[in-house]
Symmetry: C2
Subunit: 262 residues, 2 copies
Amino acid sequence: MSSPTPEMPRKLPIAPLHVSVGLRAQACEAIRAAIMRMDIYGQPEEIRLDERQLCQDLGVSRTPIREALSVLEQEGFVRSIPRRGIHVVRKSKREIVEMITVWAAIESMGARLAATRATTAEIAGLRHVLVAFDDDPAKGGPSGQISEYSDANMAFHKAIIRLGGIELMASMTDTLFIHMRAVRAVTMTQDNRARRSVADHRDIIAALEARDAGRAARLVREHTMGLAAHVERHGDFLDAKPEAPKQAEPSAAAAERQRRYA
Amino acid sequence: MSSPTPEMPRKLPIAPLHVSVGLRAQACEAIRAAIMRMDIYGQPEEIRLDERQLCQDLGVSRTPIREALSVLEQEGFVRSIPRRGIHVVRKSKREIVEMITVWAAIESMGARLAATRATTAEIAGLRHVLVAFDDDPAKGGPSGQISEYSDANMAFHKAIIRLGGIELMASMTDTLFIHMRAVRAVTMTQDNRARRSVADHRDIIAALEARDAGRAARLVREHTMGLAAHVERHGDFLDAKPEAPKQAEPSAAAAERQRRYA
DNA sequence: TTGACCAAGCTGGTATACAATATCCATAAT
DNA sequence: ATTATGGATATTGTATACCAGCTTGGTCAA
């Protein structure tokens, strides 16, 4: 049966039937999506999540929830304190800057590798990512486009990394990029940043097309480190003000509990 | 419960200390140590570990074991297949090369940052790491010293990264370095590599002392990428031959299993 | 009125029981 | 004799029950 019969009718294109995609993975995905959906830095108070509440909402037992939370804790999205609860982590400005720095390091190397091993067609494909906003520079103004541009921006950087050919880079930066979503508001506070960003991207593509590995690596590094410097200057809102602990309000506890499940 | 007794043995104010360091963390540490201790690439067959066996050995229940295995799976040490068991991952040559490449990217940026922000005393402290083997170059020969040198080697690179001041770099590379331990045998197969490595390190320190960020970054990158190329050339043993345990045996079950794994 | 002490509830950690599924072997049929 | 099918077995995923500790709110005493 292992003979290489070229045409075997036994190979029915039957469903892959991944009935057991794993309940833990689903919970992990759901919780991660919920975390990304909420505006972490909008509310000043710590966001706590309750295991049992999640159990009810997702309709599963605590065990998969706990395992999913373990994964999320490893990924740096939540933090579990023994008997104090599980709260969504709020990255400090320094942590954000560090993440951007690591991102710059990885993507710079990715660009360096891409300059030599990527095909010309692949490099040319990079232009498709930014034409969408290159053709319409008027979009830079309203904040409603920020999210849209930010997504395209991340897509461009992801594409650079992908062209480097190191899959590990893609997987490692994916987590970083997810964290970046929370602070994308600050990345475009200055209007010229968006335009300058597009110009930088064009220069990077040009360097890649010229097969100038050193220049591509340098441009990517300077571009991303510029973002790091920008956050360093204007990202003070990240170091949140956990607000006055409790002013003289006797019902603060009740309010706290109410907010907890919000 | 029986509260009427007004005299309750009051809790001694003696700090129980880290009684609850978390049973999961201990299990995680133990299993990780066990994995690092065993020679993954020595045995040709897949190394499977059994949950209940671990439960008995560690004397705990399955829950903390499972959570520890979740963490280890996230870190890339083990892989869990739904109903097939948990086996220690055997990194392929490509994966190792990728890890080294990412390491080079991160450490290169770390050196670049260290060149400007590290104090002169900190840079000078780097020499302490390699003098131990710089003073006794005769040690390069026997393989018994490989492990020792490898540890000092990693300590040097960790120190570079630490001087960069980005804690995230340290934590990310720690996991990479743990994986590197498994393949440190191949890193020193050529005798001159050890000596050249020390020379490279000295050059890196010189660049840092000269505050030449670009040169430091380049030297670190070339040094580590040289290791990647070395593994690329001589690391074919990593792509192990799982070899058919049963040779020419037309067993239907074996063929079936082979087909399903493909 | 204010402070401390106690008690109860809530939260997470741990253990165990149950269910589902993959593997493997034995037996029967061709 | 060989193959296929069925069951036995083993292993993991999931759920639930129990336990320990922290928080918090109330009450009593000074």
